[in-house]
Each structure stands twice: as C-alpha cells, then as structure tokens.
Symmetry: C2
Subunit: 223 residues, 2 copies
C-alpha cells in the first residue's frame, strides 16, 4: 500500500546516486572544458566522448548545439513560441550577466547528469573564473574536473572555425571572448592541455588517462 | 591528427543517441507525471524508478527537490550567490509566466536525458496544458509519455503531504493549483491513473507495463 493511500506508513526509498553508479559501473562526474573559441574544446570533448563510450562508459556531451536552442534559448528562439514579453524576460543573450546565467544553468544540468551516474562533458567558452568556480563549489568534491584547453589566441584566430574572429575584427560582432571580452584562465584546473602544440587525439588521451588515474571510471566500491 | 591542428581533413564523428541507447540496452524517453499536489505523482514516480532500476534500466528522476534549488532556483536562493539584481532578473517565482518557464526548462533538460538514452521521470504539478504540449512538440515522436495522476482534489486535500492546502485555505499562500489557480487536465495523456482508487504500487505497475508494451525498455534494434 502506498504511503498516500491509507494509514499505513510506507517508507519511500528512492534510487540513490550510489545505486545508479553501481548499475553504470563507474562514477558520475562533470568534465568541464573551458577555452577560447577555436581552442579545440569541442573536438577534444567529442574524442573523449567516443573513447569513453567505446569503453562502455555512460557519457553525455553538453555543448552549444544542444543547449542554446532549448534550455538556454536566445530571445529570438523563445519569441516564436512564447511571444515577445516572455522572450525579453527569459531569453539569454550575451551580456556578462546573461553569460553567467547561461553557465550557471549548464552547471546545474551537468550536476544532474553526474547525480544520474553519467560522466558528462561540457564544451563552452565559459570565460569567467567566478562562474566556473561557483559550479565547482555547488558540486561535490571530485565531481568537477576542469580542463583548460590552453590554445594561444593567434592559433584560435587562425583556425576561426565559426568565422567569429573575422567578424569581430570587422566590427560585425561585439563581446567576443579574447577580442573585446576577457577570458579568465583557471587558477587550479585539474588539467591544462596545450591546444596549440599537441593534436586533438593526444589531448583526448590525456583526459581519458586522467579519468582513469583518478578512478572516475570505477565505482567507489570497486576502487 | 585533429581537424583543428592541421590541413588534414578529419571527420568528427560524435557519439549518437542511437549509440547511447545501444549501450544502455533501451530507448531514452521522458515519462512526464502531472497532477495536483498530493495526487501521488512523486510516490508513483519513485516506485517506477525503483522498479525500472531493478530491471537494469538507466533512469533518472527530476522533481522539485533537485530542480528548485539549482536549475530553476528562486530569487532568494540566487540572491545569496549572485546578488539582488541578478536574482530579480533570473530567479523563478510562481507567477503564471514563471511557472511556464520552470516547466519549459525542465522539459528541455528532460529532453537532454532522453537524448542520453536515459528514461527520465519528471514529477511536477505542471498545471497548464499548453506548457506540457509545448514539450511534447519539442521532443521527438514517442519521446513524451504523459502520465496524468488523476486524484480528486478532496483526496489530495485530505492527504495534504506538504500542508499546502491548509495554508491556502487559511489564506497564507496564494496561487495554489486546484484552489485559486487552475489545473488543466491533459486531453490525450498516454496514461491516466486513478490516484484516488488504486494504491501507488498498483499505479506504478501500470506505468512499467505501459513502457514494456510500447517497447521503451528495448532498443530500436531489438524490437
């Protein structure tokens, strides 16, 4: 008999994070890639995702593609469905405050995936140190693995995979991180990757090796 | 060689949803419980979660406990970390518009879990039909399983697990769904559970049976 359907006390026993990790055979955690546009974050994160998946690890990747159209939709996207007033109130743009909220929500969602026993990779510029540190603080110890993809601006600008630097230099867009908006490198990242020196495959291997070394690919019980 | 580190074209092959479902051995989807406070949503969702977990299904549960302090934090919670102006801009209260945004974000996050190959259960009043239908529309066909926990208001008020009805009747809180805010029942829910008649265990069994019948507990390949 359910606890809401009569006088009998019935203790509701939820599935715990530990239960979920045991089923998955490994720990849940957040691997947070940060760095300039063109630094190689997404490429490395995708390679790590593939390698971990091949090892039978339950992963997920959060990036602009699956976040900026849904969870953190821009005003113009929200406007279509919910009207202008709603879009103005809830849409996220690219001001400092809006970027902070963008990252705050992504951190919260990443925390939910970790609680589900998933190793979730995030690939966002996430330029402000305080925003990243706030997520680190909210998550449990060891749940936040900060990976700084440290690629010199010159190289990022040369690659310019989205054409953003060209547009910024031409004055067509504003507030581009590295050009007219600051990037604050992590003070104590778990990993710093030399994105201008090693190729993406080698960088991805370093991330996987770190996760193995710190026993994230095992459960607490099997360590 | 990575595609960002030289002239060699390298095709970035992401892990697909299909890959993740194959690893998990079942489909990802959203099982959306809706109903009045005290209807039994959370109790039934927790029981379904336990049963599925016991079957080796990769699940997660989104409810007020893990969403209202993080992702959809109230102004007072945000204020502590980010200050008053930020909390006013981004905190979610309980106005109609704020409730819509609360549900919109939960729907977006639930969609991410489904894309990760997880069967995610959500337990929120979610009183407005248009809000639920918007999520159904955003998700792929078959990804949204709406479960209406149809418990008469009199029974919910008798149970009053959070003491909300008592407070509303005493005029201490406003906008309580069922009292001074409307609940709009689904027009085409996948399942309607008679929450005032059957006990929670029996209702949970119906949900699991539905998921089995519609082959959500298998992958597309094994159907």
């Amino acid at each position: 008999m359910g606890n809401e359907s009569g006088g009998v006390h019935w203790h509701e026993q939820s599935v715990t994070r530990d239960d979920r990790e045991t089923l998955n055979g490994h720990t849940g955690c957040v691997v947070w890639f940060t760095g300039l546009s063109g630094s190689g974050k997404s490429t490395v994160a995708n390679l790590v995702d593939r390698t971990l998946h091949g090892l039978g690890v339950h992963t997920f990747l959060l990036d602009g593609d699956n976040v900026r159209h849904g969870l953190n939709a821009t005003p113009s996207i929200l406007c279509e469905f919910y009207g202008e007033a709603y879009a103005d109130r809830f849409g996220l743009g690219f001001s400092k405050e809006d970027r902070t909220e963008n990252i705050r929500r992504i951190g919260a969602v990443a925390g939910l995936f970790a609680a589900a026993g998933v190793i979730v990779l995030t690939a966002f510029v996430s330029p402000y140190r305080s925003d990243r540190d706030a997520i680190r603080e909210q998550l449990g110890a060891g749940d936040f693995v900060e990976v700084f993809v440290d690629t010199p601006l010159e190289i990022c600008e040369q690659r310019d995979p989205k054409g953003l630097y060209q547009k910024a230099r031409a004055g067509e867009i504003k507030n581009l991180t590295g050009i007219d908006d600051p990037y604050e490198p992590p003070a104590n990242a778990e990993l710093v990757l030399a994105g201008g020196e090693d190729d993406a495959e080698a960088l991805a291997e370093m991330v996987v090796a770190y996760l193995q070394r710190t026993k994230k690919l095992q459960t607490a019980k099997t360590r």
